[in-house]
C-alpha cells in the first residue's frame, strides 16, 4: 500500500477550482478524486482536428485531460462547418490547429495543449507518439490509419479508433497488448478510389459527432481503468436506422505488426502500401493514359463547334444542384449503359472534382473507347474558371 508521500508524487493534485469544475465527475464512484487525478496525469494525442477530432478533443478537454496533443496541418474550409463544430465561421482560412487550440483552451484553461502542426509521417510519428499515453485516431485517409496503427503498436500505446462513411461509423480500441490492432481487422487497404471521400460521397454532419464522442468515451475509460473498453470489439453505428451492432475482433497471431512473429518492425511507406503513387510535380496532361482537359480548353473547343460529347458521371441529386447540361450516366451505372455511348466520338467525362470521371474515363478506355478525356478539376473547376455564376458544393 503506497504511503501518502508516494501517492502525492505519483498523482497530480487538483486545485480548488478544478475540484469545483469536475464536481460531477468526483461524485461518480467510477471516477472520484482518484480517477480525476488520473485524467489530469494523462497525455492524449488527437490525430486530426476535423470531424472526429472536434467532438473528441472538446470532450477530452471538458473531462480534464491534463495534456492534449493535436496533430493537424490543414486549414478551415467553409464546407467543414457542417460538422467540425470546434471551428467557427471567422476561422475559415485559418490553420485548424490554431482554431482548435483556442477553443479548447477557452473551455479548459487548466489543460496543457501541445500543437503539432505537421502531417504525421513515418519520420516523425514515433517521436511524436512516444510523449503520450494514448492516441485517438481521427484521420481521414487510409495511409495515415495504417501509420497510426503501426506506430501505436510499435510504441505500445493504445489507439482509440473511429471512422465514418456517409451515415455509418465504426469504433474500436486497437493496439493494446492483448487486443487486436487495425491490421488484424484489415490486413490490406482498399485500392485507391474504391471508397469515396466525404468530399465525393458526402457525410451526415452529426456522424463524426456521434463517433468522436464514442472515441472520447473509450479514451476516458482506458485512463480510468473502468467499464468495458472496445478492445476486441468492433462497434458499428448506423445513424439512419439508429442501430448499434457489435462484432467480435480477434487478435491475429499472424499479424505482421502485432502478431507473435512480426515482420513489420519499423514504419514503412504507407502511401505505397495503399497503392497511391506520388503526384507528378508538373500539372499532368495525361494520367494513367487518359488525357486531361482543363475547363477553359473544353469551353473554347465547344464554342468553336467541335463535335465533343460531354458525359457527366455524377449522381442525380448532384445534377439537381448544378450541371452544365451534359447527359448524365452515374458512375455505378456506366458498365451497364456503355452501349448508349458512341465509341467513334470524342468523349470528355466530368464529375464534381475530377476523381470519379478519371475512373470512368479509364473504364471507357479499357472497354475500347479510343478518344476519351477527363475534365481536370470537374464541375468545381468549371465554376471557378469558366462560369462563376454556378454554385459550388
Amino acid at each position: 500500500m503506497p504511503t501518502l508521500t508516494e501517492e502525492a508524487v505519483a498523482q497530480p493534485q487538483l486545485t480548488n477550482e478544478e475540484i469545483a469544475r469536475y464536481s460531477r465527475h468526483l461524485l461518480l464512484p467510477e471516477v472520484g478524486l482518484e480517477g480525476q487525478k488520473k485524467l489530469k496525469a494523462a497525455k492524449v494525442l488527437c490525430v486530426g482536428a476535423g470531424g472526429l477530432g472536434a467532438p473528441l478533443a472538446y470532450y477530452l478537454a471538458a473531462a480534464g485531460i491534463g495534456t492534449l496533443g493535436l496533430v493537424d496541418f490543414d486549414k478551415v474550409d467553409e464546407s467543414n462547418l457542417q460538422r467540425q463544430i470546434i471551428h467557427s465561421t471567422k476561422d475559415v482560412g485559418r490553420p485548424k490547429i490554431d482554431s482548435a487550440a483556442e477553443k479548447l483552451q477557452a473551455l479548459n484553461p487548466y489543460m496543457k495543449i501541445v500543437k503539432h502542426e505537421t502531417m504525421l509521417t513515418s519520420t516523425n510519428a514515433l517521436d511524436i507518439i512516444k510523449e503520450y499515453d494514448i492516441v485517438a485516431d481521427g484521420t481521414d485517409n487510409f495511409p495515415t490509419r495504417y501509420l497510426v496503427n503501426d506506430a501505436c503498436v510499435l510504441s505500445g500505446k493504445p489507439n482509440a479508433y473511429a471512422s465514418i462513411f456517409r451515415f455509418e461509423g465504426q469504433a474500436s480500441v486497437f493496439a493494446t497488448e492483448e487486443g487486436p490492432c487495425y491490421r488484424c481487422l484489415y490486413p490490406e487497404p482498399p485500392p485507391p478510389g474504391l471508397v469515396p471521400s466525404c468530399a465525393e460521397g458526402g457525410v451526415l454532419g452529426i456522424l463524426p459527432g456521434l463517433l468522436g464522442v464514442i472515441q472520447a468515451t473509450e479514451v476516458i475509460k482506458l485512463i480510468l481503468g473502468k467499464g468495458d473498453p472496445l478492445i476486441g470489439r468492433l462497434l458499428l453505428v448506423d445513424s439512419l436506422g439508429m442501430k448499434f451492432r457489435e462484432l467480435k475482433l480477434r487478435k491475429n497471431a499472424d499479424c505482421p505488426v502485432c502478431g507473435t512473429h512480426p515482420t513489420v518492425t519499423k514504419l514503412i511507406d504507407y502511401q505505397q502500401f495503399c497503392g497511391i503513387h506520388p503526384e507528378e510535380p508538373k500539372a499532368a496532361t495525361v494520367q494513367n493514359g487518359i488525357p486531361q482537359i482543363t475547363p477553359k480548353e473544353l469551353k473554347q473547343r465547344l464554342d468553336s463547334g467541335e463535335n465533343i460529347f460531354v458525359l457527366d458521371v455524377r449522381e442525380p441529386h448532384e445534377y439537381q444542384i448544378v450541371n452544365i447540361g451534359a447527359p448524365l450516366i452515374p458512375l455505378g451505372e456506366l458498365p451497364n449503359r456503355v452501349n448508349e455511348l458512341d465509341p467513334n466520338r470524342e468523349i470528355v467525362v466530368h464529375c464534381k472534382s475530377g476523381v470519379r470521371s478519371q475512373r470512368a474515363a479509364e473504364f471507357l478506355q479499357k472497354s475500347g473507347f479510343r478518344n476519351v478525356s477527363n475534365l481536370a478539376g470537374g464541375i468545381l473547376a468549371w465554376a471557378t474558371d469558366v462560369d462563376p455564376k454556378l454554385p459550388k458544393y
Partner: protein, 96 residues
C-alpha cells in the same frame, strides 16, 4: 438467409441494405450473392478468386476467417452474414 450489404457496396445491389439468399454454407451464400449481383464480385474477390483482405465477412458476430471451417461453415436460415469493409472517412488525397 440475410446478407447485410455495407453502404459503399449498395450501389452494386440496387441500393438494398440487405439481400436474401438460399445457402447451406457461408461460401454458398457469398456465391449466391455474387451470382445475383455480378458487379459485386470484383469488389469482394480478387482475380484469383480470394476474398479481398479489406473486406471482412461476419457470420452473425464472428469473423469467418476465425471460424474453424471458415467459408465451409454451415449456416441456418436465421443466421446473417455481414460484409464489413474498411472505411476511413474524410478526404482522400489519393493520386488524383
Amino acid at each position: 438467409m440475410k446478407i447485410f450489404i455495407p453502404t459503399p457496396l449498395r450501389v452494386y445491389v440496387n441500393k438494398q441494405d440487405a439481400v436474401q439468399v438460399n445457402a447451406n454454407t457461408v461460401g454458398e451464400a457469398l456465391s449466391a450473392l455474387t451470382s445475383q449481383h455480378p458487379d459485386l464480385k470484383k469488389h469482394l474477390y480478387s482475380d484469383e478468386g480470394k476474398l479481398r483482405a479489406f473486406v471482412n465477412v461476419y457470420l452473425n458476430d464472428e469473423d469467418v476467417r476465425y471460424l474453424p471451417e471458415k467459408e465451409a461453415t454451415q449456416v441456418k436460415e436465421e443466421d446473417s452474414l455481414s460484409i464489413i469493409p474498411s472505411i476511413a472517412g474524410g478526404c482522400q488525397p489519393h493520386g488524383r
